[in-house]
Symmetry: C2
Amino acid sequence: MSKLVGLIFISFVVLLSACSSSEATVSMSLSIEDAMNIRKKSNELPLLEKSINTMEAEVNALMAQEIDVPVPRDAGGGYTHERHKKNGAAIYQAATLYQVTGDEKYADFATDLLLKYAQLYPQLGPHPQHKHQAAGKLFWQILNDAVWLVYVIQGYDQLQAVLTEDQKSIIETNLLHPYVKYLSVDSSETFNKVHNHGTWAAAAVGMTGLVLGNQDYVDIALKGSDKSGNSGFLKQIDSLFSPDGYYTEGPYYQRYALMPFVVFARALDRVQPQWEIFKYRDGVLLKAIYACINLSYNNRFFPLNDAIKDKGLDTIELVHGVDIAYALTKDPGLLAIAENQNQVIVNGDGLLVAQGIAAKQKKDFIFKSILYRDGAAGDEGGVAVLRSNNAESALVVKAAGQGMGHGHFDRLGFLYYDHGTEVISDYGAARYLNVVTKRGGIYLPENKTWAKQSIAHNTLVVDERSHFNGKLAKASETSGQVTFFSGKLNALTASEKNAYPGVTFERTMGLIHTTLLDSPLLIDIMKINSSEKHQYDLPFYYNGQLTFISGKPEIAMNRMETLGEDNGYQHLWNKGQLSVDNSTTQLTWLNGNRFYSLNTLLPSDGEVIFAELGANDPEFNLRRENALVLRQADRSDAYFVSVIESHGEYNGVKEYTLQPTSNVASLSHQMEQDASLLFVNLVGGGRIVIAKADEVDASLQHTLSVSGKTYEWQGHLAVFEEATNESE
Amino acid sequence: MSKLVGLIFISFVVLLSACSSSEATVSMSLSIEDAMNIRKKSNELPLLEKSINTMEAEVNALMAQEIDVPVPRDAGGGYTHERHKKNGAAIYQAATLYQVTGDEKYADFATDLLLKYAQLYPQLGPHPQHKHQAAGKLFWQILNDAVWLVYVIQGYDQLQAVLTEDQKSIIETNLLHPYVKYLSVDSSETFNKVHNHGTWAAAAVGMTGLVLGNQDYVDIALKGSDKSGNSGFLKQIDSLFSPDGYYTEGPYYQRYALMPFVVFARALDRVQPQWEIFKYRDGVLLKAIYACINLSYNNRFFPLNDAIKDKGLDTIELVHGVDIAYALTKDPGLLAIAENQNQVIVNGDGLLVAQGIAAKQKKDFIFKSILYRDGAAGDEGGVAVLRSNNAESALVVKAAGQGMGHGHFDRLGFLYYDHGTEVISDYGAARYLNVVTKRGGIYLPENKTWAKQSIAHNTLVVDERSHFNGKLAKASETSGQVTFFSGKLNALTASEKNAYPGVTFERTMGLIHTTLLDSPLLIDIMKINSSEKHQYDLPFYYNGQLTFISGKPEIAMNRMETLGEDNGYQHLWNKGQLSVDNSTTQLTWLNGNRFYSLNTLLPSDGEVIFAELGANDPEFNLRRENALVLRQADRSDAYFVSVIESHGEYNGVKEYTLQPTSNVASLSHQMEQDASLLFVNLVGGGRIVIAKADEVDASLQHTLSVSGKTYEWQGHLAVFEEATNESE
């Protein structure tokens, strides 16, 4: 293959475009003034200096090797894939280093690489490893090609002053223009997609237009190939974010998608400020950066939909996002995030952040309870994030749209974090990113057979079938609905009417602070309506080791079988079950140094199934996770009523254990015509009462009497505390 | 029960002893001079100040409550248990705080507590919750009673100046003397045990003798009830440590046992220095403190035998040990450990440590490869610790004595650590310390049925039976033997002749640095000799997710059964197996951000079994752990030859993966009459050759020729590097 390189190179040097970039333009990414300021001030700005040093170390390591611009051969994780990624980044990094250090070796290196690519590119056809994704030329999927150009064009931008006209001509003619053509014309389907792959392509093409002074490129990037505005960057901003800045694919892809949005927008803002792109649609791009930050716990994104759990606020996309947002807003809370990122982008925005931190202007970033509406119009449900007062706990409920192809069938599913860790967790994606021995690092078969299925989530599963029978098209037609959200009560109600024909379910959840308990109590009331009888399963994927079970389960001792046949059930081992008798069932586990108790009220024919992930897993692709599956069979209308308490401490070093049992003694649930009361009876006497009306109208008054005691409240939900258990 | 308290208290105030403590004595634990120095200097010594503040916070929290000295009722983890522990510590802490702050409220509080105990103690019989351990009075086992007195007598020591004669008389007559009598006379069996329970009792009684000026107590503590020296503290020093300072129960209990040894010894050294106790037996107590430090990785002790994995160098026992050792040696490496502990003991020794750290005298503690011989005479095998040059990796091989009742049947088992974490691990103990809902926090049934069994360890299991058929008495008669140890080669050979009648096995392991690989290679050559045919199993308990298997295993898809019936096998699920064909089998897993590959050479009828812990576990007592079990059935003489490589990097945040596959292409093993060659053939060409003679004699010359290439070496083991693979 390598024989191809260098073949009749000269014949490709043809003027493909009349545009010339020789006139002076405003730099898209790093102005000369900023570069000079960075050069002068970086030694007083530790974070900036560190970021430059890291960049230098990486580029120097690459410069110490032979330049290698190989003929593309490998899929993700393979040598040519990683090498082209590295080379692309190096063009940007070396050009930046030239600007901020003045050292010409960096300019020479970036130029050499660019010329090598100008030599290689014209000879390339579609990548040999392309699969069902659109093929790139340098990479197996065109997405990576677009990403590559976003970096490289920034490097090219910064090399303008040192490149000869001949070099520019070669690079533009043999690399940049054909590259843009491949992205925007030959791959117009991807280019015009309203999807993050389309955004990367738009950013690559648009930024190239800004640098080359090619308005045509800028216009098709902003408004699609036909410049109608039915596709392109502006349409993507319109469609892919909700009015609150939520990206419909979920936080993991929001992070990924964010990069081309904010980097292209910032470039556009510098070169063609007339677009006022950061004010576009009520400033939704800034909202999107904040949403990304808010959709995280302990520095990691909530792994909704297809998500790799490693990703968090320290990813490079968020470094860009935070630096840009700070430059635009000067919000001192962002400096706390930036400090945690321990890195800034080496440009004017990063300079401002480093200066802000050095000047000790940082304030805590306040994580608050917040509802992110989904859908372009904000009417496709949403993701609710409830945080405890000190932000030590977080409860996340997803009642949003499907989230396109990476969406999971998880309507009204939840995640619960406490004491820095996942307590009730979502599996995320079944994928080992870039690990070639795991099917080349792409999504594994178990992503479909397990991770996307409803039973893989902490939500209702009816008759062992996934929501919408696992059909994306059907699921994409509707969304969950958040009918009530109160940051003050720290609670919400969401409902789902479409996942199962004839079955509606509604979930009221809260992270309720009371004076009776030290920690907020997680409340979970799932109400199911159906005229037909069904089997209802509600799993809780707990992390940790069970330390207490009220009652004696029947456990699979010598032999284990799967919990079901299909829809994800085939991946769960049935470890046993606990039959329940209409009293409160209590299950306690130890997670790290903290105990958690699930208290739940099931009818007398209900059971708790102990399930473990890992069946039908011939390639060991699945992690071992454990669930408590609450089951009610042969029911029409039904409730699942549960309370999770965080309590106690296990200290193995100092050898003590505090409060290893729940403070909740029992639950009782009083259901009336159009309202209900959940009594959480505490061990030491006293109780917490959750009063809930079916109506969500905030103005309505409700009254309910139980055992001679009357509860009156206004609106959908109320919490009463009783220091002693008066009526029992 | 509480009505008993306070009953006719006055009638118990009877002079039981003629001894009086009213004459001035040298303080056992904190001299007036040290207390004054601490008072003056602590605000310049952050570590000391922090330790005092912590102590103050704990005591103030207890003082803010009502004093409670409850009638003993609960087992470990229960209220009265924890309260008495807390009260005992508080007597010591408050008395210390009085000395170092001069604040009389602390003296009053400690005095009040002591008087309350003097009131309660005479009324107590054996603890109601006592089980098969000897009963205490305040606690369910007498061990805890002894520990309590070790703290309390130090507190009493420091209160001498403020207590009235009447108070002293009450406390000594009603509490201290009867307490000593219960420990030493009524519970003489425990007191005279050569075992850590005996050491705690000896320390409690001996330290009480030092404070009360009762030489009789000191003498029986040092030489046993009959003062013959056949039992007691000196005998314990003679018997329980090897000449290298290794404690036969292993690091977890070494840490625990260390406390009474060093605290009593330090007290004795101050009051009766004529014993020269720290020079006793060639300074073995100091060696024991160093052994404890060396038997750890990343701050956690190697979990050999019954061990809770949380325990490490920051436990209070080691804080005592390190402070004492520093006071005696001024070794600046100990300051690094102390700094990591982030705490000092509030006495003269802690003052010295805090001063050393404040004066920046700290140096790195150097963890080196070391062999700890076991047995009082040092002839009962040992525990070998091999570390990589940078101490990033550690290989631990146990070929020691059984380790008494807490010993596991794990002859020639190993543990492997790398990049800060367990890679091949030992289960430790099946126990949730102090978690009352887990059978009161004591050792669980699975400790015997699983954790102690041979199959729970990374060592040879013959015919699915544990070493010595799991019989402690038989196992205690002999030990493994370390026949070769070289810190230079970083390798050892150990052998075991008694675990199975008619079968001997020998294991050569190393953590071998070469110029051909970045990381040291773990070498494992297990040689088995038997005239009869057997089934041989060799498990590797790996941590992480399998990412590559050479060959196609048959996996249990819908149904799983146990791997065996008994001896721990009943707790393992058989997830499937890979049949092998005499070529190199390769299994790679991802652990954190690092890949590990087990390369192994099995005969053509061999197999790799994928096993997962958790069968026959009705109370969810077992953690989910995974093993690769290498199996050869129907063999007499046999070899297991394996190499584990640490390689590559997975970076989910920055989205790259390096070297996810092993650098080892294949293994071959050339066995001759009395020597063998293991060829580790590398992917890039080149190979590493491990030459091994059966003889361990260091002076013998050996020669072996393979395919025309001759290898010559002296002594048992040699490593050759070949940059290119010359002879194949």
